[in-house]
């Protein structure tokens, strides 16, 4: 059975990717499961979708914990534990990352046994939450790597799944997807179906007897204030607002009031400060700042600059 996971951000089309690949497998004569993982998914927040395909009926269900292929639409997610990209990867897994960096860099950075491939980041957009075509590209690249889906089968699946879009958008998606398909053909067959767990040689689950806890402990209650600050929603951000302090008039904390998340506080000196651990990157502050003293820059660029500065 093929087990394939697509990781991206809310808005990048990972559900579409899983559906295109699912339909392609199906049209190629496979039994298929495809599904998005639903949760509190929001634009920019890490999400994933997955596809199973087999020649016989599929009994396995739920999240794929031992993937044959992991496709990552946005390389800023790879190192993010909450995104779960590397979960369950082993030497059998192929990790395909949409990135400007090299496979060797990622291999070293992740210190992983998995084989890393790069889906060369072609389109460069400011806001990665709006990466166009990435869903189609990921699906096409995955199809090529399995080596069981023909070019025409992929095109048919893509047309079927994107049928609600205008014709020119479909054409563009198809062309870009086929380029990714052709690029990946050199690695065709690198992704192979994984095996089922063995019933004769396995790790026994470490079951415990659930201890009894008094209600004072086991009730559904939080006895502390504002623990939500431990959740770093700043990881959703694809565009970063940056205050140009020389231009900032320290006006009247307009940015601080309008920030929906309350992620801009006013410092003792009267100037605002953005809490990047929690700023989701909505850019309301950029739009509202009277002297236009807040600029937006792509998050990945900001991080590269930070990395260079600290190096």
């Amino acid at each position: 059975m093929f087990r394939i996971r697509f990781h991206g951000r809310g808005g990048q089309g990972m559900k579409t990717a899983s559906r295109i690949l699912g339909t392609a497998f199906f049209n190629a004569g496979y039994e298929v499961q495809d599904a998005p993982r639903y949760g509190a998914e929001r634009r920019g927040a890490p999400i994933f979708a997955y596809v199973r395909a087999d020649k016989s009926a599929i009994n396995e269900r739920g999240v794929i914990d031992r993937p044959d292929l992991v496709c990552v639409a946005d390389d800023t997610l790879v190192g993010m534990p909450a995104a779960g990209v590397v979960q369950g990867m082993d030497a059998h897994t192929v990790l395909l990352i949409n990135s400007h960096e090299t496979a060797a860099t990622w291999q070293q950075r992740l210190n992983t046994e998995a084989r890393v491939l790069i889906l060369t980041a072609t389109e460069d957009v400011e806001d990665r939450a709006e990466l166009p075509y990435i869903g189609s590209r990921c699906a096409a690249a995955a199809a090529a790597l399995t080596n069981v889906i023909e070019r025409e089968t992929l095109v048919a699946a893509l047309t079927e799944e994107l049928g609600h879009l205008p014709a020119d958008v479909i054409t563009q998606n198809r062309d870009i997807a086929l380029r990714a398909f052709d690029d990946m053909k050199q690695h065709a067959g690198l992704v192979t179906p994984g095996s089922m767990p063995s019933a004769s040689d396995y790790d026994r689950p470490e079951w415990i007897e659930m201890p009894f806890d008094n209600a004072a402990i086991s009730n559904l209650a939080i006895h502390a204030g504002a623990t939500s600050v431990l959740v770093r929603t700043g990881l959703w951000r694809t565009m970063r607002p940056v205050i140009n302090y020389p231009k900032c008039s320290g006006c009247a904390w307009i940015c601080s009031t309008y920030c929906p998340d309350g992620a801009i506080n006013v410092r003792a000196d009267g100037y605002p400060e953005i809490d990047y651990d929690h700023c989701k990157g909505c850019l309301v502050c950029v739009a509202q700042c009277p002297p236009h003293a807040i600029e937006s820059i792509p998050e990945h660029v900001a991080r590269e600059q930070e990395a260079e500065a600290s190096a």
């Binding site: 504002a226 770093r232 006013v266 809490d275």
Partner: protein, 309 residues
Amino acid sequence: MSKQSPLHFHRMKDMPSTHLLGTGTPTCAGCGGLETLHTIYDILGEKTVFVNAAGCMTLLSVYPFTPFRGGWLYTSMASAPAGAQGVRDALDILLQKKKLSPDENVEVVVITGDGAAYGMGMSATSGAMDRNLDFIYLCYDNEGYGNTGQQYSPATPHAARTSTSRGSHGYPGYKKDLFAIWAAHNPAYVATVIAAEPLDLAKKIEKIKGMSGPRMLISLAPCPTGWDYDPQLSVEIGRLAVQTGVWPLKEYSDGEVRHTKVPKRRKPVEEYLQLQGRFRHLFEPQRDAAGIAEIQSRIDAYWERAKVG
């Protein structure tokens, strides 16, 4: 609870510069509902219990994370006002029996979306007002069942596309007048607010802090996800809702309705509509002049009746 002068908020500089509501909640980037909530929380303070109904704000607290520094209780979609009743009555009993000092008293605040306020929870809300419950009710109205993917609700405006009104003319019904329905109960206070007008919002919160009885707020909550626009436009769209007269800012008490911020010259409603994907079919592929004119005429008729502006 301390009472500040109701005239505390004159200028933006008077707005709180540090924020009580914890960051890290899973609302969408640019959420107009959260924007209202954090402003209200800053002014009401942490001596509050928020009683939450099912909606987008269900996920404000996911164990073990909460943005609240005081109290919060999740109930169900239909019964948050009844939850508030139980909490308020319990607090009053404890105060009366001197098991709670006046200093430990808290304000009870219901928070629901429009799905609960305009629909499923309406009888519970009506009942709470009948009983003259001493509480604040905040409805964040994003004009649809947002947390399930923006299906139309009783608060959806005419012509809006939702995930259950995808036809070429959008939602055929008209937004229910919850302000009038609430005001007909003659509670202590009813107001419409919006986060994009923080001073108007702050003044109203300041005012109800010193009041008792049912204090009912409907906040139009621009919703980038459900209304289909770039999140950075949240405040702009909210402001246009006021400037075009789509969302009249007003308050009710003692049998009278007062408009609190009347647009001097109302902007054409299309300035508001055209920024939102849910109304795109009014402009593309062809401009639906009749459809836009109908929406405009209903707004004009409202202001004609209101005899202001």
